[in-house]
Symmetry: C2
Subunit: 343 residues, 2 copies
DNA sequence: TTGTACGCGTTATCAT
DNA sequence: ATGATAACGCGTACAA
């Protein structure tokens, strides 16, 4: 004997029962399968609405072996670059029927591993990752490629060869442009504040920057180079150290805008004239860089463009299972010099 | 006859077969059910690892009728307040075993409805929402409460009574504090740039602000009041209009920092002295407000604190199904005046 | 055009 | 301590 629990979830079986048809018919009708007559389709849909039926993605996913969910691991949601990236990615994927599970590693390798494992069991249809600052091993992502789940790194990508799709900014060129620009401004004593070299973006910016200086016959003074997490606190420490010696730099290239902003504030506090005595460059074109005075010369990474490319690649791969294994050349998103008042 | 597809997904049945035990035993062993002996548990786990088994959340969710996924709908991920909120919420929920599906409405009611519907079918265990700017009807959320899925609004909450949990900032008080502060600074001719009143936060800030002025015997000059989406472009338009008449205001209360920043930049361009000729207040304590010069007096909304309260409420409700229907009083997160150089 | 029958992977329940 | 079985809700080959 069947009870009628009033608030229980209705399934397609309940609809079928109520209508005297089979569950298969209901399923097909709801999915607009052309093999169902217009009449029954309408009848079914009305009944479904009437009974408060809702599609069960969990059952559907199980059956179809696809969740329509894409996993995203990002160092921090609140970083300007990533927040814009997420916005754009979400806006591209949503209309295509994909939901985004957004997770943040907080720049901890351990958390990143944990998240990878969780998303792995969650059967995401694809995983998109921007690596934590000190991630140098990638085995926690092996499962995805082994099981044929598309894996894509963007921005902070593996520094060693790894089987995955890659979309990155042209960080080498960003460093190069920055170096060229400072040299064009006739800087001779250039300081450099970078993130740790375990992270692809800082590694490549450093290479490009070094190359630019080398072209001009300059080399980086190791006393004036800092490699650490690019927080405001760390920036102030390095800046104090930088200006405590007898010889002062005439330029600073900071590998993010948080650091560049700190440099401007530090200079203001110390009465250092910008750009006359000190030129400053940042990286990312964070809104703060344009709002502070003097506004900071920086490098735009075009996060929206990067998200579009990531979305495009994902959708292409997800549609076409065939080429899931063809990891063609990395995609490289150009960068742009934004000239402002600090140089 | 069973084929051995090498790359096929292994299930607990495969493990059971390989070990000569039942699937139930495997399931229990993997879930650390105490009714399984230490020996078999170990045996099973080893075999599972060896066979490359991974837990299937989809099947598990179907069986358990819970997805361990929490849905989040936010106007825009890239708004400072929300990006910080998301960071904090995620950091609280992740360790408890919940994943966050982050979606953005782009402040479009239609998108919000679409997202609600999708998340509804996705069987999220709970839904957290900050409403779009012009959402005044809430029927697209009815399904959640009807089916007993916890629904929680934060920040931008319904303006009409609606059965859901609510965690909000003290926007009335924020407006009041702002008004009191400007009056204490002896402002007499106060302009006001607000978001649309369809949105709870702007409505309440307006009420608080109006009340503060009324206490001082002032009333808002309607020519100096603007209600529109708080973008930089709209701000500039309103500011130009504001200063085109013969009588100029001596203070502006802007209901977000984007607008306050625009006001400072506009004043700079027009040669208006701040704070002598014009005092400016913003809202949110966006990093830009502290970086611009002069730094802007604003109201801090404590997004992290709000996220903690939301997480706490969610976890409590998700653990204790019993009280899923008790929508006790709204939680109100205090706000703080951040006094800077523009007042 | 519609129905039948079964599988997807996991777990609760009852039995041993 | 472990096994056998039956759901969970949906989609699809195959049959009618």
């Amino acid at each position: 004997m069947k009870e009628n629990k009033p608030n229980a979830e209705k399934s397609i079986v309940d609809i079928a029962l109520a209508l005297g048809v089979s569950a298969a018919t209901v399923s097909r009708a709801l999915n607009d399968n052309p093999r169902i007559s217009e009449a029954t389709r309408k009848k079914v849909k009305e009944k479904a609405k009437e009974m408060g039926y809702r599609h069960n993605s969990m059952a559907s996913s199980l059956r179809n072996r696809r969740s329509n969910i894409i996993g995203l691991i990002v160092p921090r949601v609140s970083m300007y670059f990533h927040s814009v990236f997420i916005t754009a990615l979400q806006n591209k994927l949503q209309p295509e029927g994909y939901n985004l599970i957004v997770c943040q590693s907080n720049d901890s390798v351990a958390v990143e591993q944990q998240l990878a494992s969780t998303l792995y069991s969650s059967r995401v249809d694809a995983l998109v990752v921007s690596l934590a600052l000190y991630t140098e091993e990638y085995h926690h992502f092996d499962g995805f490629t082994n099981h044929g789940t598309p894996l894509l790194f963007y921005d902070r990508v593996p520094t060693k060869s790894y089987a995955a799709y890659i979309v990155k900014g042209d960080d080498y060129r960003g460093g190069l442009i920055a170096g060229d620009h400072l040299i064009e401004m006739e800087c001779k004593k250039i300081a450099y504040i970078s993130g740790p070299l375990s992270c692809s973006i800082y590694k490549e910016r450093t290479e490009g920057f070094t190359h630019a200086l080398a072209k001009a016959g300059l080399h980086l003074n190791t006393d004036w180079c800092f490699y650490h997490e690019l927080t405001a606190e760390n920036a102030w420490n390095s800046l104090r150290q930088l200006f405590s010696g007898k010889e002062k730099p005439d330029a600073i290239f900071a590998s993010n805008d948080t650091t560049a902003v700190a440099a401007v504030q530090f200079s203001r506090e110390q009465g250092i004239k910008i750009p006359q005595e000190l030129k400053i460059m940042g990286y990312s074109n964070d809104p703060r860089s344009s709002i502070i005075s003097p506004a900071i010369t920086t490098i735009d990474q075009h996060p929206t463009e990067m998200a579009h490319r990531v979305a495009h690649k994902l959708l292409q791969v997800l549609k076409d299972k065939r080429q899931a294994q063809e990891y063609d050349a990395q995609e490289i998103v150009p960068v742009t010099l934004i000239r402002r008042m600090t140089t």
